[in-house]
Protein backbone atom coordinates (compact mmCIF):
# COMPACT_ATOMS: atom_id res chain seq x y z
CA UNK A 1 0.00 0.00 0.00
CA UNK A 2 2.85 2.35 0.77
CA UNK A 3 4.81 3.58 -2.16
CA UNK A 4 8.44 3.25 -1.19
CA UNK A 5 9.76 6.76 -1.03
CA UNK A 6 13.46 6.56 -0.68
CA UNK A 7 15.97 9.22 0.08
CA UNK A 8 18.67 10.42 -2.24
CA UNK A 9 20.80 7.41 -1.49
CA UNK A 10 17.99 4.89 -1.85
CA UNK A 11 18.02 3.97 1.84
CA UNK A 12 15.00 4.12 4.11
CA UNK A 13 17.08 4.60 7.24
CA UNK A 14 20.32 6.51 7.27
CA UNK A 15 22.55 7.40 10.19
CA UNK A 16 25.60 9.59 9.70
CA UNK A 17 28.11 10.14 12.49
CA UNK A 18 25.22 9.71 14.90
CA UNK A 19 26.08 10.30 18.54
CA UNK A 20 24.31 10.67 21.82
CA UNK A 21 25.79 11.88 25.08
CA UNK A 22 23.90 11.79 28.37
CA UNK A 23 24.78 14.67 30.62
CA UNK A 24 24.99 13.12 34.07
CA UNK A 25 23.86 15.25 36.99
CA UNK A 26 27.27 14.82 38.55
CA UNK A 27 30.46 13.44 37.14
CA UNK A 28 31.51 12.71 33.60
CA UNK A 29 28.98 12.78 30.76
CA UNK A 30 28.15 9.30 29.46
CA UNK A 31 28.66 8.61 25.79
CA UNK A 32 25.81 6.26 24.86
CA UNK A 33 26.37 6.27 21.11
CA UNK A 34 29.51 7.23 19.26
CA UNK A 35 29.86 7.92 15.55
CA UNK A 36 27.28 5.50 14.16
CA UNK A 37 27.14 5.17 10.40
CA UNK A 38 24.75 2.79 8.71
CA UNK A 39 22.00 2.52 6.16
CA UNK A 40 19.00 0.25 5.85
CA UNK A 41 17.64 -0.36 2.36
CA UNK A 42 13.98 -0.44 1.43
CA UNK A 43 12.44 -3.74 2.48
CA UNK A 44 15.55 -4.85 4.31
CA UNK A 45 15.51 -6.59 7.69
CA UNK A 46 18.42 -5.43 9.80
CA UNK A 47 19.14 -6.76 13.29
CA UNK A 48 21.11 -4.80 15.82
CA UNK A 49 22.77 -6.96 18.46
CA UNK A 50 24.90 -6.05 21.42
CA UNK A 51 25.23 -6.49 25.17
CA UNK A 52 23.15 -4.38 27.53
CA UNK A 53 24.50 -0.89 27.82
CA UNK A 54 25.60 -0.64 24.21
CA UNK A 55 23.02 2.03 23.50
CA UNK A 56 20.87 0.01 21.13
CA UNK A 57 17.64 1.16 22.79
CA UNK A 58 18.95 4.73 22.68
CA UNK A 59 19.50 4.27 18.96
CA UNK A 60 15.97 3.02 18.45
CA UNK A 61 14.46 5.85 20.49
CA UNK A 62 16.36 8.39 18.41
CA UNK A 63 15.07 6.78 15.21
CA UNK A 64 11.53 6.79 16.63
CA UNK A 65 11.86 10.51 17.38
CA UNK A 66 11.36 9.96 21.09
CA UNK A 67 14.89 11.00 22.01
CA UNK A 68 17.15 13.70 20.64
CA UNK A 69 20.60 13.07 19.24
CA UNK A 70 23.58 15.13 20.32
CA UNK A 71 25.59 14.84 17.12
CA UNK A 72 25.35 13.58 13.56
CA UNK A 73 22.33 13.11 11.35
CA UNK A 74 19.44 10.64 11.00
CA UNK A 75 17.14 10.35 8.05
CA UNK A 76 14.03 8.24 7.59
CA UNK A 77 12.87 8.03 3.98
CA UNK A 78 15.15 10.89 3.15
CA UNK A 79 13.82 13.37 5.70
CA UNK A 80 15.60 14.23 8.93
CA UNK A 81 14.08 12.89 12.13
CA UNK A 82 12.99 15.72 14.39
CA UNK A 83 10.28 14.04 16.47
CA UNK A 84 7.74 11.24 16.43
CA UNK A 85 6.29 10.59 13.00
CA UNK A 86 3.48 8.60 11.49
CA UNK A 87 5.34 6.55 8.89
CA UNK A 88 6.95 4.28 11.48
CA UNK A 89 5.59 1.47 13.61
CA UNK A 90 7.15 0.95 17.01
CA UNK A 91 7.22 -2.28 19.03
CA UNK A 92 8.42 -1.95 22.62
CA UNK A 93 10.12 -4.43 24.92
CA UNK A 94 6.80 -5.07 26.64
CA UNK A 95 3.48 -5.22 24.82
CA UNK A 96 2.34 -1.84 26.30
CA UNK A 97 -1.31 -2.58 25.58
CA UNK A 98 -4.04 -0.46 27.14
CA UNK A 99 -5.75 -2.89 29.54
CA UNK A 100 -9.22 -1.39 29.06
CA UNK A 101 -9.12 -1.99 25.31
CA UNK A 102 -9.80 -5.24 23.47
CA UNK A 103 -7.32 -6.74 21.03
CA UNK A 104 -9.10 -5.02 18.14
CA UNK A 105 -9.39 -1.71 19.97
CA UNK A 106 -5.72 -1.80 20.91
CA UNK A 107 -4.85 -2.58 17.31
CA UNK A 108 -6.83 0.45 16.14
CA UNK A 109 -5.26 2.89 18.61
CA UNK A 110 -2.86 4.44 16.05
CA UNK A 111 -5.77 4.95 13.65
CA UNK A 112 -7.77 6.79 16.30
CA UNK A 113 -4.83 8.87 17.46
CA UNK A 114 -3.90 9.85 13.95
CA UNK A 115 -7.46 10.78 13.12
CA UNK A 116 -7.81 8.23 10.32
CA UNK A 117 -11.09 6.58 9.38
CA UNK A 118 -11.50 3.78 11.93
CA UNK A 119 -14.18 2.01 9.89
CA UNK A 120 -11.90 1.90 6.88
CA UNK A 121 -9.02 0.42 8.83
CA UNK A 122 -11.04 -2.08 10.87
CA UNK A 123 -10.89 -4.63 8.07
CA UNK A 124 -7.13 -4.24 7.80
CA UNK A 125 -6.76 -4.59 11.57
CA UNK A 126 -8.84 -7.77 11.48
CA UNK A 127 -6.70 -9.22 8.69
CA UNK A 128 -3.52 -8.49 10.63
CA UNK A 129 -5.04 -9.98 13.78
CA UNK A 130 -5.86 -13.08 11.78
CA UNK A 131 -2.36 -13.20 10.36
CA UNK A 132 -0.83 -13.30 13.85
CA UNK A 133 -3.31 -15.99 14.91
CA UNK A 134 -5.49 -13.92 17.23
CA UNK A 135 -8.69 -14.08 15.17
CA UNK A 136 -10.66 -15.74 17.96
CA UNK A 137 -9.39 -13.24 20.49
CA UNK A 138 -10.40 -10.01 18.77
CA UNK A 139 -12.75 -9.03 21.57
CA UNK A 140 -10.62 -10.26 24.45
CA UNK A 141 -8.81 -7.95 26.83
CA UNK A 142 -5.04 -8.05 27.45
CA UNK A 143 -5.43 -9.70 30.86
CA UNK A 144 -7.13 -12.62 29.11
CA UNK A 145 -4.10 -13.19 26.84
CA UNK A 146 -0.72 -14.85 27.33
CA UNK A 147 2.48 -12.81 27.07
CA UNK A 148 3.17 -14.01 23.55
CA UNK A 149 -0.36 -13.16 22.44
CA UNK A 150 -0.06 -9.70 23.95
CA UNK A 151 3.15 -9.08 22.03
CA UNK A 152 1.48 -10.26 18.82
CA UNK A 153 -1.28 -7.75 19.53
CA UNK A 154 1.32 -5.02 19.85
CA UNK A 155 2.90 -6.01 16.53
CA UNK A 156 -0.50 -5.68 14.86
CA UNK A 157 -0.81 -2.23 16.43
CA UNK A 158 2.58 -1.25 15.01
CA UNK A 159 1.54 -2.37 11.53
CA UNK A 160 -2.06 -1.20 11.38
CA UNK A 161 -1.44 2.25 9.92
CA UNK A 162 0.76 0.66 7.25
CA UNK A 163 4.03 2.35 8.18
CA UNK A 164 7.02 2.07 5.84
CA UNK A 165 9.38 1.29 8.71
CA UNK A 166 9.03 -1.05 11.66
CA UNK A 167 11.25 -0.37 14.66
CA UNK A 168 11.42 -3.18 17.22
CA UNK A 169 13.13 -2.85 20.59
CA UNK A 170 13.90 -6.34 21.96
CA UNK A 171 10.26 -7.26 21.44
CA UNK A 172 10.61 -10.91 22.45
CA UNK A 173 13.08 -10.51 25.31
CA UNK A 174 10.49 -11.15 27.98
CA UNK A 175 9.09 -14.32 26.39
CA UNK A 176 10.09 -17.89 27.15
CA UNK A 177 12.39 -19.63 24.68
CA UNK A 178 9.75 -21.67 22.87
CA UNK A 179 7.30 -18.79 22.49
CA UNK A 180 10.21 -16.70 21.30
CA UNK A 181 11.02 -19.14 18.48
CA UNK A 182 7.40 -19.14 17.38
CA UNK A 183 7.40 -15.34 17.41
CA UNK A 184 10.56 -15.28 15.29
CA UNK A 185 8.89 -17.49 12.68
CA UNK A 186 5.79 -15.32 12.78
CA UNK A 187 7.76 -12.11 12.42
CA UNK A 188 9.60 -13.53 9.41
CA UNK A 189 6.28 -14.43 7.83
CA UNK A 190 4.84 -10.98 8.50
CA UNK A 191 7.92 -9.33 7.09
CA UNK A 192 7.88 -11.47 3.95
CA UNK A 193 4.21 -10.69 3.37
CA UNK A 194 4.15 -7.03 4.35
CA UNK A 195 7.65 -6.16 3.09
CA UNK A 196 8.34 -3.51 5.65
CA UNK A 197 11.77 -2.18 6.35
CA UNK A 198 12.63 -3.53 9.78
CA UNK A 199 15.21 -2.48 12.35
CA UNK A 200 15.21 -5.16 15.01
CA UNK A 201 17.06 -4.67 18.30
CA UNK A 202 17.97 -7.76 20.30
CA UNK A 203 20.57 -9.07 22.70
CA UNK A 204 20.26 -12.59 21.32
CA UNK A 205 22.84 -13.30 18.65
CA UNK A 206 20.89 -16.33 17.40
CA UNK A 207 17.71 -14.28 17.04
CA UNK A 208 19.60 -11.51 15.23
CA UNK A 209 21.09 -13.94 12.72
CA UNK A 210 17.90 -15.94 12.25
CA UNK A 211 15.83 -12.88 11.38
CA UNK A 212 18.25 -10.46 9.76
CA UNK A 213 19.42 -9.86 6.21
CA UNK A 214 22.25 -8.10 7.95
CA UNK A 215 23.36 -7.96 11.56
CA UNK A 216 24.86 -4.80 13.02
CA UNK A 217 27.04 -5.71 15.99
CA UNK A 218 27.48 -3.05 18.66
CA UNK A 219 29.86 -2.72 21.57
CA UNK A 220 29.16 -1.11 24.93
CA UNK A 221 30.28 2.29 26.26
CA UNK A 222 30.55 4.11 24.09
CA UNK A 223 28.06 2.30 21.88
CA UNK A 224 29.53 1.95 18.42
CA UNK A 225 29.31 -0.41 15.46
CA UNK A 226 32.09 -2.97 15.54
CA UNK A 227 30.97 -5.18 12.69
CA UNK A 228 28.25 -5.61 10.12
CA UNK A 229 27.53 -9.19 9.08
CA UNK A 230 25.55 -10.16 6.01
CA UNK A 231 23.37 -13.23 6.48
CA UNK A 232 22.97 -15.11 3.23
CA UNK A 233 20.71 -17.89 4.45
CA UNK A 234 17.78 -18.53 2.08
CA UNK A 235 14.23 -17.49 3.06
CA UNK A 236 11.90 -18.53 4.45
CA UNK A 237 14.16 -19.83 7.18
CA UNK A 238 12.85 -22.53 9.45
CA UNK A 239 14.09 -23.39 12.91
CA UNK A 240 16.29 -26.16 11.49
CA UNK A 241 18.50 -23.44 10.01
CA UNK A 242 19.74 -22.78 13.52
CA UNK A 243 21.41 -26.17 13.72
CA UNK A 244 23.14 -25.81 10.35
CA UNK A 245 26.89 -25.10 9.97
CA UNK A 246 26.48 -21.71 8.25
CA UNK A 247 24.30 -20.41 11.06
CA UNK A 248 26.74 -21.67 13.64
CA UNK A 249 29.65 -19.97 11.90
CA UNK A 250 27.86 -16.63 11.82
CA UNK A 251 26.87 -16.82 15.47
CA UNK A 252 30.42 -17.79 16.47
CA UNK A 253 31.99 -14.99 14.48
CA UNK A 254 29.67 -12.40 16.05
CA UNK A 255 30.24 -13.75 19.52
CA UNK A 256 33.99 -13.57 19.04
CA UNK A 257 33.71 -9.92 18.06
CA UNK A 258 31.60 -9.16 21.11
CA UNK A 259 33.94 -11.07 23.42
CA UNK A 260 36.93 -9.21 22.01
CA UNK A 261 35.17 -5.92 22.74
CA UNK A 262 34.31 -6.99 26.26
CA UNK A 263 37.98 -7.84 26.78
CA UNK A 264 39.03 -4.35 25.76
CA UNK A 265 36.81 -2.71 28.33
Amino acid sequence: MTAPETGASGSLIQARALGRVYQAQRGEPVVALHDLNFEVADGEFVSVVGPSGCGKSTLLNILAGLLGKTSGEVFLRGTPVDGPRRDIGLVFQGPVLLPWRTVLQNALLPIEVQGLDVDKYRLRARELIKMVGLAQFEDKYPFELSGGMQQRNSIVRALVHDPAILLMDEPFGALDAMTREQMNLLLQKIWMEARKTVLFITHSIAEAVFLGDRVIVMSPRPGRIVQTVTVDLPRPRDLDVMTGPEFGDLVRSIRRHLDAQQGLD
Binding site: L66, R86, I88, L98, W100, L109, P110, V113, Y141, F143
Partner: protein
Protein backbone atom coordinates in the same frame (compact mmCIF):
# COMPACT_ATOMS: atom_id res chain seq x y z
CA UNK B 1 -21.67 -24.81 49.31
CA UNK B 2 -18.86 -23.05 51.09
CA UNK B 3 -20.54 -19.72 50.49
CA UNK B 4 -23.83 -21.01 51.87
CA UNK B 5 -21.98 -22.30 54.92
CA UNK B 6 -20.32 -18.95 55.48
CA UNK B 7 -23.61 -17.08 55.22
CA UNK B 8 -25.20 -19.57 57.60
CA UNK B 9 -22.39 -19.10 60.12
CA UNK B 10 -22.59 -15.33 59.93
CA UNK B 11 -26.34 -15.42 60.50
CA UNK B 12 -25.92 -17.90 63.33
CA UNK B 13 -23.48 -15.58 65.11
CA UNK B 14 -25.86 -12.68 64.63
CA UNK B 15 -28.79 -14.67 66.01
CA UNK B 16 -26.74 -15.83 69.00
CA UNK B 17 -25.60 -12.28 69.73
CA UNK B 18 -29.14 -10.88 69.47
CA UNK B 19 -30.57 -13.63 71.66
CA UNK B 20 -27.97 -13.22 74.40
CA UNK B 21 -28.45 -9.44 74.21
CA UNK B 22 -32.22 -9.82 74.47
CA UNK B 23 -32.14 -12.18 77.45
CA UNK B 24 -28.96 -10.76 79.03
CA UNK B 25 -30.58 -7.34 79.35
CA UNK B 26 -33.55 -8.91 81.14
CA UNK B 27 -31.43 -11.23 83.27
CA UNK B 28 -29.06 -8.51 84.53
CA UNK B 29 -31.93 -6.01 84.80
CA UNK B 30 -30.23 -3.37 82.70
CA UNK B 31 -32.53 -0.37 82.35
CA UNK B 32 -33.81 0.28 78.82
CA UNK B 33 -32.47 3.86 78.71
CA UNK B 34 -28.95 2.42 79.02
CA UNK B 35 -29.31 -0.57 76.71
CA UNK B 36 -32.72 -1.46 75.33
CA UNK B 37 -33.27 -5.07 74.19
CA UNK B 38 -33.18 -5.66 70.41
CA UNK B 39 -36.91 -6.32 70.35
CA UNK B 40 -37.66 -2.83 71.61
CA UNK B 41 -35.22 -1.30 69.14
CA UNK B 42 -36.84 -3.15 66.25
CA UNK B 43 -40.27 -2.12 67.43
CA UNK B 44 -39.13 1.50 67.72
CA UNK B 45 -37.67 1.26 64.22
CA UNK B 46 -40.88 -0.15 62.80
CA UNK B 47 -42.95 2.38 64.68
CA UNK B 48 -40.80 5.28 63.54
CA UNK B 49 -40.78 4.21 59.92
CA UNK B 50 -44.44 3.26 59.71
CA UNK B 51 -46.12 6.09 61.56
CA UNK B 52 -43.48 8.36 63.01
CA UNK B 53 -41.11 10.93 61.62
CA UNK B 54 -38.13 8.59 61.10
CA UNK B 55 -38.80 8.16 57.39
CA UNK B 56 -38.78 11.91 56.87
CA UNK B 57 -35.55 12.36 58.80
CA UNK B 58 -33.99 9.56 56.81
CA UNK B 59 -35.00 11.18 53.55
CA UNK B 60 -33.52 14.54 54.64
CA UNK B 61 -30.20 12.98 55.65
CA UNK B 62 -30.02 10.82 52.52
CA UNK B 63 -30.50 13.86 50.30
CA UNK B 64 -27.81 15.77 52.17
CA UNK B 65 -25.43 12.84 51.80
CA UNK B 66 -26.07 12.35 48.09
CA UNK B 67 -26.02 16.00 47.06
CA UNK B 68 -22.93 16.68 49.17
CA UNK B 69 -21.19 13.56 47.84
CA UNK B 70 -21.83 14.33 44.20
CA UNK B 71 -20.84 17.95 44.67
CA UNK B 72 -17.67 17.21 46.63
CA UNK B 73 -16.57 14.42 44.30
CA UNK B 74 -17.19 16.50 41.18
CA UNK B 75 -15.18 19.44 42.48
CA UNK B 76 -12.46 17.09 43.76
CA UNK B 77 -12.14 15.36 40.40
CA UNK B 78 -12.25 18.62 38.45
CA UNK B 79 -9.64 20.34 40.57
CA UNK B 80 -7.50 17.21 40.64
CA UNK B 81 -7.46 17.13 36.85
CA UNK B 82 -6.51 20.81 36.66
CA UNK B 83 -3.75 20.44 39.24
CA UNK B 84 -2.27 17.38 37.54
CA UNK B 85 -2.44 18.85 34.05
CA UNK B 86 -1.35 22.43 34.58
CA UNK B 87 1.86 23.17 36.37
CA UNK B 88 0.72 26.70 37.16
CA UNK B 89 -2.43 25.52 38.93
CA UNK B 90 -0.38 23.00 40.86
CA UNK B 91 2.14 25.59 42.02
CA UNK B 92 -0.62 28.02 42.98
CA UNK B 93 -3.01 25.69 44.76
CA UNK B 94 -1.49 22.38 45.73
CA UNK B 95 0.47 23.51 48.81
CA UNK B 96 -2.71 25.00 50.27
CA UNK B 97 -4.72 21.92 49.44
CA UNK B 98 -2.18 19.78 51.30
CA UNK B 99 -2.20 22.14 54.26
CA UNK B 100 -6.00 22.25 54.39
CA UNK B 101 -6.17 18.47 54.14
CA UNK B 102 -4.40 18.17 57.48
CA UNK B 103 -7.19 20.13 59.17
CA UNK B 104 -9.86 17.71 60.44
CA UNK B 105 -12.70 18.69 58.15
CA UNK B 106 -15.53 17.94 60.58
CA UNK B 107 -13.96 20.39 63.03
CA UNK B 108 -15.06 23.17 60.71
CA UNK B 109 -18.71 22.12 60.94
CA UNK B 110 -19.72 24.80 63.50
CA UNK B 111 -18.24 27.49 61.30
CA UNK B 112 -19.99 26.12 58.23
CA UNK B 113 -23.31 26.16 60.10
CA UNK B 114 -22.73 29.81 61.03
CA UNK B 115 -22.04 30.62 57.39
CA UNK B 116 -24.71 28.51 55.72
CA UNK B 117 -27.43 28.28 58.34
CA UNK B 118 -29.35 25.50 60.02
CA UNK B 119 -30.92 24.15 56.85
CA UNK B 120 -29.92 21.86 54.04
CA UNK B 121 -27.06 23.96 52.70
CA UNK B 122 -24.66 23.69 55.63
CA UNK B 123 -24.97 19.87 55.69
CA UNK B 124 -24.33 19.67 51.96
CA UNK B 125 -21.27 21.86 52.33
CA UNK B 126 -19.85 19.69 55.14
CA UNK B 127 -20.64 16.42 53.36
CA UNK B 128 -19.01 17.69 50.16
CA UNK B 129 -16.04 19.09 52.05
CA UNK B 130 -15.15 15.70 53.53
CA UNK B 131 -15.76 13.96 50.18
CA UNK B 132 -13.67 16.47 48.27
CA UNK B 133 -10.21 15.71 49.65
CA UNK B 134 -9.94 11.94 49.10
CA UNK B 135 -11.11 12.48 45.53
CA UNK B 136 -8.68 15.28 44.89
CA UNK B 137 -5.71 13.37 46.28
CA UNK B 138 -6.60 10.14 44.48
CA UNK B 139 -7.26 11.80 41.13
CA UNK B 140 -3.86 13.48 41.22
CA UNK B 141 -2.22 10.24 42.31
CA UNK B 142 -4.03 8.25 39.63
CA UNK B 143 -3.30 10.67 36.82
CA UNK B 144 0.38 10.75 37.74
CA UNK B 145 0.80 6.98 37.99
CA UNK B 146 0.78 6.43 34.22
CA UNK B 147 3.30 3.91 32.94
CA UNK B 148 6.15 5.63 31.15
CA UNK B 149 5.90 3.18 28.28
CA UNK B 150 2.27 4.07 27.70
CA UNK B 151 3.20 7.73 27.46
CA UNK B 152 6.06 6.87 25.10
CA UNK B 153 3.62 4.87 22.98
CA UNK B 154 1.23 7.81 22.73
CA UNK B 155 4.09 10.17 21.95
CA UNK B 156 5.40 7.84 19.24
CA UNK B 157 1.93 7.86 17.68
CA UNK B 158 2.04 11.68 17.61
CA UNK B 159 -0.86 11.91 20.03
CA UNK B 160 -1.98 15.32 21.23
CA UNK B 161 -1.96 16.13 24.92
CA UNK B 162 -5.74 15.86 25.05
CA UNK B 163 -5.66 12.44 23.34
CA UNK B 164 -3.06 11.20 25.79
CA UNK B 165 -5.17 12.45 28.66
CA UNK B 166 -8.40 10.96 27.36
CA UNK B 167 -7.09 7.65 26.05
CA UNK B 168 -4.39 6.82 28.60
CA UNK B 169 -4.17 9.00 31.69
CA UNK B 170 -7.83 9.16 32.61
CA UNK B 171 -8.60 5.44 32.24
CA UNK B 172 -5.38 4.75 34.13
CA UNK B 173 -6.57 6.93 36.98
CA UNK B 174 -9.97 5.23 37.26
CA UNK B 175 -8.92 2.62 39.85
CA UNK B 176 -7.57 5.35 42.11
CA UNK B 177 -10.60 7.54 41.47
CA UNK B 178 -12.95 4.75 42.49
CA UNK B 179 -10.87 4.05 45.58
CA UNK B 180 -11.43 7.71 46.43
CA UNK B 181 -15.15 7.47 45.68
CA UNK B 182 -15.43 4.54 48.09
CA UNK B 183 -13.74 6.43 50.90
CA UNK B 184 -15.71 9.57 50.15
CA UNK B 185 -19.17 7.97 50.38
CA UNK B 186 -18.49 6.80 53.93
CA UNK B 187 -17.12 10.20 54.87
CA UNK B 188 -20.12 11.97 53.34
CA UNK B 189 -22.42 10.07 55.71
CA UNK B 190 -20.25 11.18 58.63
CA UNK B 191 -20.20 14.76 57.33
CA UNK B 192 -23.96 15.02 57.02
CA UNK B 193 -24.52 13.63 60.53
CA UNK B 194 -21.92 15.90 62.12
CA UNK B 195 -23.52 18.85 60.36
CA UNK B 196 -26.88 17.88 61.83
CA UNK B 197 -25.34 17.48 65.27
CA UNK B 198 -24.04 21.02 65.18
CA UNK B 199 -27.34 22.55 64.23
CA UNK B 200 -30.31 21.30 62.26
CA UNK B 201 -34.08 21.17 62.16
CA UNK B 202 -34.36 17.71 60.61
CA UNK B 203 -32.38 14.63 59.69
CA UNK B 204 -31.12 11.52 61.46
CA UNK B 205 -28.41 13.43 63.31
CA UNK B 206 -31.05 15.80 64.59
CA UNK B 207 -33.25 12.83 65.47
CA UNK B 208 -30.42 11.20 67.46
CA UNK B 209 -29.86 14.39 69.47
CA UNK B 210 -33.62 14.77 70.00
CA UNK B 211 -33.98 11.15 71.13
CA UNK B 212 -31.05 11.70 73.45
CA UNK B 213 -32.75 14.71 75.01
CA UNK B 214 -35.93 12.80 75.78
CA UNK B 215 -34.01 9.64 76.77
CA UNK B 216 -35.48 7.66 73.87
CA UNK B 217 -32.54 5.26 73.66
CA UNK B 218 -34.37 2.77 71.40
CA UNK B 219 -34.95 5.71 69.03
CA UNK B 220 -31.20 6.41 68.89
CA UNK B 221 -30.50 2.77 68.14
CA UNK B 222 -33.14 2.81 65.41
CA UNK B 223 -31.33 5.75 63.80
CA UNK B 224 -28.00 3.88 64.04
CA UNK B 225 -29.50 0.95 62.19
CA UNK B 226 -30.82 3.17 59.43
CA UNK B 227 -27.43 4.91 59.12
CA UNK B 228 -25.64 1.57 58.97
CA UNK B 229 -27.99 0.39 56.22
CA UNK B 230 -27.60 3.63 54.26
CA UNK B 231 -23.81 3.52 54.62
CA UNK B 232 -23.39 -0.06 53.51
CA UNK B 233 -25.86 0.17 50.63
CA UNK B 234 -24.21 3.30 49.25
CA UNK B 235 -20.78 1.74 49.72
CA UNK B 236 -21.88 -1.42 47.90
CA UNK B 237 -23.32 0.64 45.04
CA UNK B 238 -20.06 2.55 44.59
CA UNK B 239 -18.10 -0.72 44.81
CA UNK B 240 -20.32 -2.41 42.23
CA UNK B 241 -20.08 0.52 39.81
CA UNK B 242 -16.30 0.55 40.34
CA UNK B 243 -16.00 -3.14 39.53
CA UNK B 244 -17.93 -2.61 36.32
CA UNK B 245 -16.04 0.47 35.20
CA UNK B 246 -12.60 -0.77 36.20
CA UNK B 247 -13.25 -4.27 34.90
CA UNK B 248 -9.63 -4.90 33.96
CA UNK B 249 -8.55 -4.79 37.58
CA UNK B 250 -9.54 -8.04 39.21
CA UNK B 251 -8.37 -7.31 42.73
CA UNK B 252 -10.24 -4.97 45.02
CA UNK B 253 -9.48 -1.33 44.55
CA UNK B 254 -6.75 -0.30 46.89
CA UNK B 255 -7.59 2.63 49.08
CA UNK B 256 -4.53 4.76 48.67
CA UNK B 257 -5.50 7.96 50.40
CA UNK B 258 -8.18 9.27 52.68
Amino acid sequence: MRRARRIFLTLAVLAAALLSWEFGVGFFKIPAFLLPPPSRILFRLYDGLAGGSLLEHTSVTLQEILVGYVLGCSIGIGLGVLISQFRLVEDLLYPYVIALNSVPKVATAPLVVIWFGYGFESKIVIASLVAFFPLLVNVILGLRSVERDQLALMRSLTASRWQTFRMVQLPNALPAIFAGLEVAIVLSVVGAIVGEFVGAKAGLGYFILFSNAIVDTPGMFAAFIILAVIGSILNQIVKAVGRRVVFWRKQDLVVSAS
